[in-house]
């Protein structure tokens, strides 16, 4: 049954805080960093005013934030932390501890460019640099999806078939600092969607076990088990998305969302908030008769390989918008999409658009230009395979 909730006008950061209050973790440990700061300030306010019954651990760094979360999760606590950019990199050492120990910590990451040069605005180099850390990664398009995904993240991560930490990404400023209308799920209904967390994977005086152990002779097998379980995550994400949709009226399509892809010759693959801008372009180009569609990549780990292959088998050209670059090669999302497409007998034409680095604007005109180029390569024309979009100067690629 669909439960309508209260609607409030809040920012993406505040949506994260409201979601955390609703799921009510036992422990929050976090260190503030722009543009995540407002989220952890609000959570701290909620603990202070008693509306969130939790232990808030004030730490002196992100490395300690994740270490404290790891410690809390090791005794079976539901935990939350949040970071951004350099803070995520400072946590990097602890991320494989958490995924290897199979503790279902949920973390918000406000996507922000890496220094130097400094640019506090959003791109995806921070989280994409941690694709191999063993965490599930989801990218959100607006504040509502962010709130819904923090809630769903606990359900997915704590599922006994998963037991894997999850990073919920939202674009810094564009989402963290933008106010919009957000519907809060009914707390009573949420209780049945997300039951209290309990696990055997913890330190327990009654059932003693070694935790975070050294396993020289079995390391490889533990990793195989982790990979095996990660492969199950896709179906659990989809099942969770459907059930959430049935209860609260919003579902997002699971691993990816296909927008106007039926009969499309050219599609763009996007991650995060730029998806919304691309929707407007697809609508207007479709009304002009252009056969274009949009693939919103929601999860980067696990990677939606089967879905990408299925789309690749139907279209003539695929463009990937990367708000990142793996210096010395190409966009990171592009590499992942290409690797999936290589399973096809006939691979569609592909272009990689490096855009929005350091928060550079990606306008509707830029996206329209990407589609026009894709439609041209679909007809056999040659284009530069990797392009910088909206750069201030020339580049000899």
């Amino acid at each position: 049954m669909r439960m309508a909730g209260r609607k409030i006008f809040i920012s993406g950061d505040e949506a994260v805080a409201e979601a955390v209050r609703l799921v009510s973790p036992h422990v929050i440990s976090a260190y503030p960093i722009t543009p995540q700061t407002v989220a952890v300030e609000r959570i701290s306010d909620f603990v202070e005013d008693g509306s969130l019954q939790a232990e808030y651990i004030h730490v002196e760094s992100e490395h300690s934030a994740m270490s404290a979360a790891l410690g809390a999760a090791a005794v079976g606590a539901r935990t939350f932390t949040a970071t951004s950019s350099q803070g995520l990199l400072y946590m990097a050492e602890v991320l494989p501890y958490v995924s290897g120990a199979r503790f279902p910590i949920v973390m918000m990451n406000a996507n922000r460019a890496l220094a130097v040069p400094w640019a506090l605005l959003s791109d995806h180099r921070d989280s994409l640099s941690q694709l191999d850390s063993g965490w599930i990664q989801v990218y959100c398009e607006d504040a509502q999806e962010t709130l819904d995904m923090i809630i769903q993240a606990y359900r997915v991560a704590e599922d006994e078939r998963v037991m894997t930490p999850m990073m919920v990404n939202l674009d810094g400023f564009v989402l963290t600092h933008t106010y919009e209308l957000v519907e809060l799920p009914d707390q009573a209904a949420l209780k049945s969607f997300l039951p209290d967390y309990s696990t055997d994977n913890k330190m327990d005086l009654d059932v003693p076990k070694s935790v975070c152990l050294a396993a020289m002779n079995h390391y490889m097998e533990y990793m195989m088990k982790q990979e095996l379980d990660m492969r199950n995550v896709e179906s659990i994400i989809e099942e969770t998305d459907r059930e959430y949709g049935d209860m609260f009226g919003r579902s997002y399509g699971g691993m990816i969302e296909q927008y106007m892809c039926d009969g499309a010759d050219a599609v763009l693959v996007t991650l995060g908030s730029v998806t919304g801008t691309a929707r407007v372009v697809v609508d207007s180009m479709r009304s002009e008769g252009y056969k274009v569609g949009l693939v919103k990549l929601r999860f980067m780990r696990p990677f939606p390989k089967a879905e990408i292959i299925e789309i690749g088998s139907k279209v003539k050209a695929i463009g990937v918008v990367d708000k990142d670059i793996s210096v010395g090669y190409e966009g990171i999302v592009f590499t992942n999409v290409n690797s999936a497409l290589s399973d096809l007998d006939r691979v569609p034409q592909r272009l990689n658009f490096i855009a929005g680095l350091g928060g550079r604007n990606v306008s509707k005109a830029h996206i329209r230009d990407m589609y026009m180029q894709l439609l041209e390569v679909a007809e056999g024309k040659e284009k530069e395979k990797i392009q910088f979009v909206n750069a201030r100067c020339e580049y000899n690629g």
Partner: protein, 104 residues
């Protein structure tokens, strides 16, 4: 007043023209920010002992020491009041913008 010579910034036309490393030739703010002020600092030259404390702490480098006495460049002073706060001999007063030197 000892102001730096303004050389117009020329934006690189090609990526290879950018410097190696996140560096750039040191520059100065040339856009005036006097419009930000609510209060402006006034130096009482009789009390000033030229210790240069204000010169050192001014975040905008708006205090000129090249002449006989210290002078404030009111085109670039944004009225933060750090100089008045830090002056050990009380030689700097903050006066409401629009009022005369005695604050009237």
């Amino acid at each position: 007043m000892d102001r730096p010579k303004v050389v117009k910034y020329k934006e690189p036309e090609r990526a290879e023209d950018y410097p190696v490393g996140a560096t750039f030739k040191a520059g100065h703010l040339v856009q005036t920010n006097s419009g930000w002020r609510t209060f402006r600092p006034i130096i009482d030259q009789d009390k000033c002992i030229k210790c240069l404390r204000c010169f050192l702490v001014c975040p905008d480098g708006a205090i000129d020491k090249s002449g006989e006495s210290l002078e404030i460049d009111y085109d670039f002073c944004k009225g933060c009041g750090v100089c008045a706060h830090e002056c050990k001999v009380g030689a700097i007063r903050m006066v409401k913008e629009g009022a005369d030197e005695d604050g009237r």
